[in-house]
């Protein structure tokens, strides 16, 4: 696992408003890094700085240990937050154009465009102007635009917004294909369930500050509270009376509760067994949404 793309202490203000403070994180080769934060937290600004369409006030972005150059950036695939392709140009023509701008030969780009259109199920729409496409298909075309020059890095701002579940699966498989080849993928999203399913690594930003960064599993572990779920045969309401237990959720036979640091989960289990059969008992892994709420608070 090589950390290929690195942001070091990036600061950026717009007027008096500082939108990024010492933003530092890594994107690792062959892994999907989810970039999560509320609207206005600084995701898009960070991504625009990576792509060189916005300058940082201080700090720098490095690629394989040295400062990013335009030539490096040309090997990046970028999907901006606000979508757009030339409305009156056909899907094929603009993909070919963008590939050429990234330095591909005409032959190579034509082959790649056919492959991508096939992959993204856009083949039948290849010769339609983009403005005649449905929103979902425009989105696919936009993704194709980020991939056409066989980039070494993918930076995708909200790639899944506006996609139906089928299209999400298509795009996910295309992105997975890229990570398998070792391409690092940084994508932002506020659909936490999608991020949860997809990402290997996670970067959480709030108010321009990186609140957490690391692999999904290590973050889960780090933010796992002492939370347990218990299902018994009868009513589980008695749990709240045990010392060190604070009830989170109670639904008849099922109780979710947090335990104080000095309380022992086995004491709770024993107490339950004394009252009758226990159907299930175990720790609850926090969902990404929960970690996010915790971290971004």
């Amino acid at each position: 696992m090589t950390k290929v793309l690195h942001l070091e202490a990036i600061n950026r203000s717009f007027g008096d408003r500082q939108v990024l403070r010492d933003v530092t994180f890594d994107v690792t080769a062959g892994r999907m890094t989810g970039f999560v934060g509320a609207n206005g937290a600084g995701k898009t600004t960070s991504m625009r700085i990576i792509l060189g369409v916005l300058a940082p006030d201080s700090g720098e972005v490095t690629w394989q240990g040295s400062k990013l150059t335009r030539e490096d950036r040309r090997r990046f695939g970028y999907m901006p937050e606000e979508r757009g392709l030339y409305p009156k140009m056909t899907v094929r023509d603009q993909l070919v154009y963008l590939g050429r701008l990234h330095g591909m030969t005409l032959d190579a780009v034509r082959r790649k465009v056919d492959e991508l259109l096939e992959w993204l199920s856009l083949g039948e729409r290849a010769n339609d102007p983009v403005e005649n496409l449905s929103l979902g298909n425009q989105q696919r075309a936009q993704i194709a635009a980020a991939l056409v020059h066989e980039p070494d890095v993918l930076v995708l701002d909200e790639p899944f917004s506006g996609l139906d579940p089928m299209a999400v699966d298509t795009v996910v498989s295309v992105l997975r294909e890229h990570t398998h080849r070792g391409v690092p993928v940084l994508f932002s999203s506020h659909q936490l369930d999608v991020v949860e399913r997809l990402c290997d690594d996670l970067v959480i930003i709030a108010d321009g500050v990186i609140r957490a960064a690391g692999s999904r599993d290590s973050l889960r572990e780090a933010y796992a509270q002492r939370r347990f779920s218990l299902r018994v045969a009868g009513d589980a309401g008695w749990v709240r009376d045990l010392p060190g237990v604070s009830l989170v959720d109670l639904d008849g036979a099922r109780a979710v509760f947090d335990l104080a640091d000095d309380a022992d989960d086995q004491v709770v289990l024993r107490a339950a067994l004394e009252r009758g059969p226990v159907r299930s008992f175990g720790p609850v892994t926090p969902s990404l949404a929960e970690i996010f709420r915790e971290v971004a608070r």
């Binding site: 060189g52 369409v53 335009r70 040309r74 970028y78 901006p80 979508r83 023509d93 701008l101």
Partner: protein
């Protein structure tokens, strides 16, 4: 990939898009029809040799020599009948004596003059420009420069706004230098504008040649020849400013307002040249002001008021002005292209530091 191949790619796309654009094709066709109409049509409508029926062989030879369309008939009654039937414009009958022209309601002048002895004519000022032409030539140059420069200028601006409005500009700027985008657009606009003007000029020259009888071509040819380089420099001078105007706004709807000063810069010389074309001091002044020189100088060359060195000096001044305005336009373009939140003022774009910092990063 280097900057020059990026410029070529950008320009090629612009050209390809424009070639499919109906407005462009229609305006080109309109101008060409205008050029053909202005030169060939009058000759075809008004002119054309009259057809004449004649029985007498000697008269027929005379008439043929005068370039008339002669129909030889068996006798003079047949000649008269041909006129009555409308087969010919006139008939010439001799009746054994002097020739007589028969026509329905108006005797064709060319038939009459072919049979008459004309007095000698000596022109005291043979080079003087026909007053009708003296009016039409400035008008023609002004119309072509005004419309072409306005149309293609606005198209450059629109193409910039389109890229901003759709935000594809972020993808573009992430892959090619901003200046390459600008240069590609100006190049494509210039090539299109120049080919349209060259086509119009060629058709006009061909049209004049087709109908030329009074050496009109030798009179107007040099000024058309000068018009082309003046046009190119004049167009490029403003092109970067059109692009800058496009970059200042985010929506095509806002373009009208922001490009108003430029439209005035194009429109004012148009009216001045047309209305002042007989005022020599004003025209001399206009022929050195870069914005009006592309029309005023060719007009002065046409009317014979300009010395041989004058267009060179004026062109030199224009080139300097063009360099300065391109620098300003490019700076404003770069300073506003990536500002996608709202309208950017000209001054703010000119003073923008972001673009210079970006240039630093993107080395």
């Amino acid at each position: 990939m280097n900057t020059s191949s990026a410029i070529r790619l950008v320009a090629a796309r612009e050209l390809k898009v424009k070639m499919k654009d109906k407005t462009f094709l229609i305006s080109t066709i309109f101008f060409l029809l205008f050029a053909v109409g202005g030169t060939v049509l009058p000759a075809m409508l008004g002119g054309g040799a009259s057809s004449v029926a004649v029985a007498d062989a000697a008269t027929a030879t005379t008439l043929r020599a005068a370039g008339l369309e002669v129909t030889q008939v068996s006798d003079e009654a047949a000649a008269e009948q041909a006129v009555r039937d409308g087969d010919v414009d006139a008939a010439v009958v001799t009746g054994g004596g002097d020739p007589k022209v028969l026509a329905m309601d108006d005797a064709p002048g060319d038939v009459v003059s072919a049979l008459s002895v004309e007095p000698q004519v000596q022109l005291l000022n043979p080079d003087a420009v026909d007053p009708l032409l003296a009016y039409f030539v400035p008008f023609g140059f002004a119309v072509v420069f005004f419309f072409t420069s306005l149309t293609f200028g606005l198209q450059i601006a629109q193409s910039v706004v389109e890229e901003k409005q759709t935000r594809i500009v972020e993808i573009l700027v992430a892959s090619v230098p901003t200046r390459a985008l600008l240069a590609g657009k100006v190049l494509a606009g210039g090539v299109l504008a120049l080919s349209q003007v060259a086509l119009i000029a060629a058709v006009t020259v061909a049209g004049i040649q087709f109908t030329d009888s009074d050496g009109l071509l030798s009179l107007i040819g040099p000024s058309i020849g000068w018009f082309v380089p003046f046009f190119v420099v004049g167009f490029v001078m403003l092109a970067a400013l059109w692009a800058a105007a496009g970059a200042l706004v985010n929506r095509v709807e806002d373009l009208q307002g922001v490009s108003m000063p430029l439209q005035i810069v194009v429109m004012l010389p148009f009216f001045l040249v047309i209305f002042m074309s007989d005022n020599k001091p004003v025209m001399t002044l206009l022929s050195y002001i870069p914005f009006s020189a592309p029309t005023a100088m060719p007009v002065r060359l046409f009317t014979g008021d300009a010395e041989g060195w004058e267009p060179l000096l004026s062109l030199g001044i224009m080139v300097l002005a063009a360099l300065a305005l391109i620098a300003v336009g490019a700076r404003v373009y770069e300073g506003s292209l990536l500002r996608t939140n709202g309208k950017v003022s000209f001054g703010a774009a000119f003073r923008d530091r972001e673009s210079r910092r970006l240039a630093e990063i993107n080395k």
